[in-house]
């Protein structure tokens, strides 16, 4: 594959590529994201007749996006890694099994984590809680500490400091205190009628005491006018899945997010 240099050349190639609608792709972003990455010098591109690869520099790894008509490009990855030795992460969202996107059958690359999306279309009956408070910038440090020691940098979509600040300003982070400590928090993102739980976390010292349920109750109590609720949950986290489905009326959407590490 040929390495493409020059921001303008990369952008033009990208526009031509999306116009052609390749058969396989994990690019769920809009062109404005591409513009931001180019502006920040965060992107490297490789191209062939059958594929366009884009490596976006995240702080700890490179995220690999592709547009392709086949998967010949996966055999070029080793060559690319000679010049970009960082960990590469491929994220694909599919309905059901990864099928065509199962990189483990093409190269020695396995899905390190799989998330599945759940959706609920109604407020559960048990949804009144006064236990929560809206976190503010004062809680930034303890939120950061708790999320950094609970979640994985790859896959768990840990908010950056700037994002967290934005969530705090928009009152999208609720917390529960116990013994003068942050027992847990929940971050949500709202779009008019739909709300998405971005992250829910209970401090390890307070687990098994119902704080997760209190957070969910609080979340629903402030979203009574919403019609649809979504979240991503680790597919192997049976206790959490059962809780979301049995207690909070979420249902499986058969939509999976596979994270592969090369």
């Amino acid at each position: 594959m040929e390495k493409i240099t020059g921001k303008e050349q990369i952008y033009q190639l990208y526009l031509e590529t999306i116009k052609n609608r390749y058969k396989y792709s994990n690019c769920y972003f809009q062109p404005d994201s591409m513009e931001e990455w180019l502006k920040a010098d965060r992107i490297t591109c490789y191209s062939s007749e059958q594929a366009l690869l884009m490596l976006v520099n995240e702080s700890d790894y490179l995220k690999l996006f592709f547009y392709a008509d086949d998967f010949e490009w996966v055999h070029e990855i080793e060559k690319i890694k000679e010049t970009s030795p960082d960990t590469m992460v491929i994220e694909v969202v599919t309905r059901g099994e990864p099928g065509d996107y199962d990189f483990n059958t093409m190269i020695a690359c396995r899905a390190v984590v799989t998330y599945e999306r759940l959706r609920s279309s109604g407020i559960p009956s048990e949804s009144a809680s006064q236990a929560y408070f809206y976190c503010t910038e004062k809680n930034h440090k303890e939120l950061r500490n708790l999320m950094d020691r609970t979640f994985m940098p790859i896959g768990d979509r840990i908010p950056t400091d700037a994002e967290l600040e934005q969530f705090l300003v928009s009152k999208s982070v609720i917390g529960i205190r116990e013994d003068d400590q942050l027992a847990g928090f929940l971050i949500f993102e709202d779009m008019r009628k739909t709300s998405y739980v971005r992250m829910i976390c209970v401090n390890e010292a307070f687990r098994g005491k119902g704080f997760g349920n209190e957070l969910m109750k609080s979340y629903f109590s402030i979203h009574k006018d919403f019609k649809s609720f979504t979240l991503w949950c680790k597919a192997d986290n049976r206790p959490a899945l059962n809780l979301y489905m049995n207690k909070w009326n979420y249902k499986r959407e058969n939509l999976y997010n596979y994270i592969f590490i090369i």
Binding site: L15, T17, I18, K19, N20, R21, Y28, Q30, P31, V93, R95, R117, R119, S121, G122, D190, M191, R192, K193, T194, S195, K227, S228, T230, L255
Partner: protein, 76 residues
């Protein structure tokens, strides 16, 4: 128009799309729904949607979706 609302209802039965002024802004459709919708439209109306047209503004209303189908050579 009814045909489009039926497709949307099959995709997201919990919403009444006729009540929404902007399906994307209202959170009725997300990027994954749009990808599913593109496949359904292509199959149902025998069209090929240009990749540059797979943007939220072309899926924000039934009228926008119909315009996209027509732009892509379909009849509705």
């Amino acid at each position: 128009m009814e045909e489009i609302y039926k497709i949307l209802k099959d995709l997201r039965p919990e919403f009444d799309f006729t009540e929404s002024e902007d399906f994307v802004e209202d959170g009725f459709l997300d990027s994954f729904d749009i990808i599913s919708l593109v496949s359904t439209i292509e199959e149902k109306f025998n069209v090929k949607i240009d990749g540059l047209d797979v943007v939220p503004e072309n899926f924000c209303s039934a009228e926008a979706i119909i315009a996209l189908i027509r732009k892509s050579g379909g009849t509705i």
